[in-house]
């Protein structure tokens, strides 16, 4: 295992983690402020990817595609919040789970009805394709570095928004006491719609960005959603910091685990058995991590109580 290969895998893990963060941040905000568990978040991821693919196909502009992704996902989020989610606040988790699961069915089958089951293509724009030379002599895809940068910028932006702006104060207040901020005359319903749409937009952005390196197809969002849940369990509900650290941990564990576990087993087993056992265990590595955190800190690394 050379240094270059290791660095490459490290960066892959970081990129995977940062994109996960975009999903997890929205989810944890929505739960922290509104007390709502939202299974339809994966649908926003998918909608973002599809919007981007459609617009990129029609106009050839990746930038326009990203704008489309953000807008489509945000619009879908706002619509869903107004029509469905509004009736779920204060209801028990079972109702929230079922209603948002129903939304997954509607969105997934709806998209399949419009676009069919075959994947769409979203291409990396020319100006972002190809490798870039990093210190240490590492050649790494420019696009992936861009993803890491975008993700970190979003994290920074979110952090600043929450710490410094009025909306941020409302968010923090809302997390602590929902009734209180309604009593203060702040229009809670607008705040909720805004936060929900913001979360959806982040998911849509992630979907579009990742859609260029994986495929854009129905059902692409749910596996990411579930991973985002793992991140939240590890990081703690309601904590953006927890979501960031959790995402990076998960990203690194999954990527590095996938590379190193088979290697580790090769040390004392024959190659084919080692690869097979190693990859099987690697696919479970994240969940072992989650289990370990649960044993040690049941409410997550940065969770409350």
């Amino acid at each position: 295992m050379t240094f270059v290969l290791f660095a490459e895998q490290l960066l892959n893990g970081l990129q995977f983690g940062i994109m996960l963060f975009l999903m997890a941040a929205g989810l944890t905000l929505i739960f922290g402020v509104m007390g709502l568990i939202n299974l339809a978040h994966g649908s926003f991821y998918m909608i973002g990817a599809f919007a981007a693919a459609a617009v990129a196909g029609a106009t050839g502009s990746f930038l326009l595609a990203l704008v489309a992704a953000l807008s489509a996902a945000a619009a879908a989020g706002a619509l869903v919040e107004l029509l469905v989610i509004r009736r779920l606040y204060g209801k028990d988790h079972l109702d929230q789970v079922l209603a948002t699961f129903a939304l997954i069915l509607i969105f997934s089958e709806g998209t399949r009805w419009i676009y069919g089951s075959f994947p769409l293509f979203l291409n990396i724009p020319d100006y972002l394709s190809g490798p870039i030379l990093l210190p240490g002599g590492i050649q790494y895809p420019l696009y992936r570095i861009t993803l890491i940068a975008v993700g970190l910028l979003v994290a920074l932006g979110l952090g600043l928004m929450i710490a410094k702006t009025r909306i941020g104060i409302q968010i923090r207040a809302g997390e602590n006491d929902r009734e209180m901020i309604a009593a203060l005359g702040i229009d809670i319903s607008k705040l909720y719609t805004l936060i929900f749409a913001l979360g959806a937009a982040l998911a849509g952005l992630a979907g579009a960005l990742v859609g260029a390196i994986q495929s854009v197809q129905v059902g692409m969002g749910e596996p990411v959603l579930i991973l985002a849940f793992v991140v939240i369990v590890i990081g703690g509900i309601g904590s953006i910091k927890g979501a960031l650290i959790g995402s990076i941990l998960v990203g690194l564990t999954d990527t590095l685990g996938g590379v190193f576990l088979p290697q580790l087993f090769k040390l004392f087993m024959e190659a084919s058995v080692a690869t097979s056992i190693g990859s099987s265990l690697a696919s479970m590595a994240i969940y072992f991590l989650m289990g370990a955190v649960l044993v040690w800190r049941p409410t997550g690394l940065f969770g409350a109580r």
């Binding site: 739960f31 568990i37 469905v84 009736r87 988790h93 079972l94 109702d95 789970v97 079922l98 209603a99 699961f101 129903a102 939304l103 997954i104 069915l105 509607i106 997934s108 089958e109 709806g110 399949r112 009805w113 749910e222 596996p223 579930i226 991973l227 849940f229 793992v230 939240i232 369990v233 509900i237 097979s276 990859s279 099987s280 696919s283 479970m284 994240i286 969940y287 989650m290 289990g291 649960l294 044993v295 049941p298 409410t299």
Partner: protein, 327 residues
């Protein structure tokens, strides 16, 4: 409002009558369809104990369904290839005997439920939901990468397993086996709900604070309920795999976990025959609507949304009203 007991008897009549008619009219496909409904109902009965009685929103019950299925698949695979399952610490041969397979399925699912329950019940509410979902994914990805037993393509079992004295390949006989198991589970459920354990569990769902104050350990109650629930759903998984003579990682999928919850919700959470009604409705919709449109899940989604937002209590809640009190 229809009396719930009468309604349950009506459902039972359908469960017996439809396959009987299909047998006489030589429509084996209908019998298979009813078997599918019965097995789904059994899986949902398991979930209903955790969810309806215990208030545990388990989004990963497919884990147990899949474990039961793979218990069957692995044992049958080794039997049909005449290889032992393992030679260490002692030789374990495969088997095609249903009772043995069921025992293994129940034991393995119970163990899994114990571990998952112990980890997930350390925290409340939302974490539990996310964790159970995550464990489902874990098994899903693991079995995909487990090429020994087919990986993503799954595992076929050439001949249905055997039950002493019966011809299990005969659709009506296999249906009979599944129906008897379902009835047994429902009877167990009935007694469980009224028992001291059921009373305590049901109270723990409604008012955990009170349960602790009267001196009961609500976490332990929920854990036991979760294990029982996993065992029953695991058994259903073994029966399902035997029905299709096929097991694959999709038995662990989040979609299936969602479907099992849907069975319970459509029928009515916490109602004895809720899972049965839900499974019957689902299989009927799947067969009828699925034939009309490839995208019938959209209708399922709207139905579910409607029930959640407007029709609390599911079908039994709407037809029979609130559950009558115990005296």
């Amino acid at each position: 409002m229809v009396n719930e007991r009468l309604f349950n008897l009506l459902i039972l009549a359908i469960l017996i009558g439809v396959p009987a008619w299909a047998y006489v009219s030589d429509e084996p496909f209908i019998i298979t369809l009813m078997t599918r409904a019965v097995v789904f109902a059994l899986a949902a009965v398991g979930l209903n104990i955790a969810l309806g009685l215990g208030g545990l929103v388990s989004l990963g019950h497919a884990v147990f369904f899949g474990i039961g299925g793979y218990a069957m698949g692995i044992l049958a695979f080794h039997a049909q290839t005449f290889t032992p399952v393992t030679e260490w610490p002692f030789v374990i041969e495969g088997t095609k005997s249903m009772p043995v397979i069921w025992l293994v399925a129940v034991v393995m699912s119970s163990l899994a439920a114990l571990v998952i329950g112990m980890l997930s019940l350390r925290t409340a509410g939302v974490y539990f939901i996310m964790i159970t979902l995550a464990f489902g994914q874990m098994f899903f990805f693991f079995t995909i990468s487990w090429s020994t037993y087919g990986g993503e393509d799954g595992l076929s079992v050439y001949v249905r397993n055997g039950f002493p004295g019966l011809n299990t390949l005969d659709p009506i006989q296999y249906f009979g086996i599944c129906l008897i198991i379902l009835m047994t589970a429902l009877t167990f459920n009935l007694f469980l709900a009224k028992s001291p354990f059921g009373l305590a569990l049901n109270a723990a769902r409604q008012t955990p604070q009170r349960v602790e104050t009267v001196g009961l350990n609500s976490t332990r109650l929920k854990l036991v309920a979760f294990v029982i629930s996993g065992a029953i759903t695991g058994l259903a998984g073994a029966l399902f795999a035997d029905l299709n003579r096929f097991v694959s990682p999709t038995m662990f999928s989040w979609q299936l976990s969602g479907e099992i919850i849907i069975f319970v919700i459509i029928g009515g959470v916490g109602r004895l025959f809720g899972p049965v009604v839900g499974a019957l409705v689902f299989v009927a919709l799947e067969h009828l609507l699925g034939g009309l449109s490839d995208y019938w899940h959209i209708y399922l989604g709207f139905l579910l949304l409607g029930i959640v937002l407007f029709g609390k209590g599911g079908l039994i809640g709407m037809i029979c009203g609130r559950e009558k009190v115990d005296a």
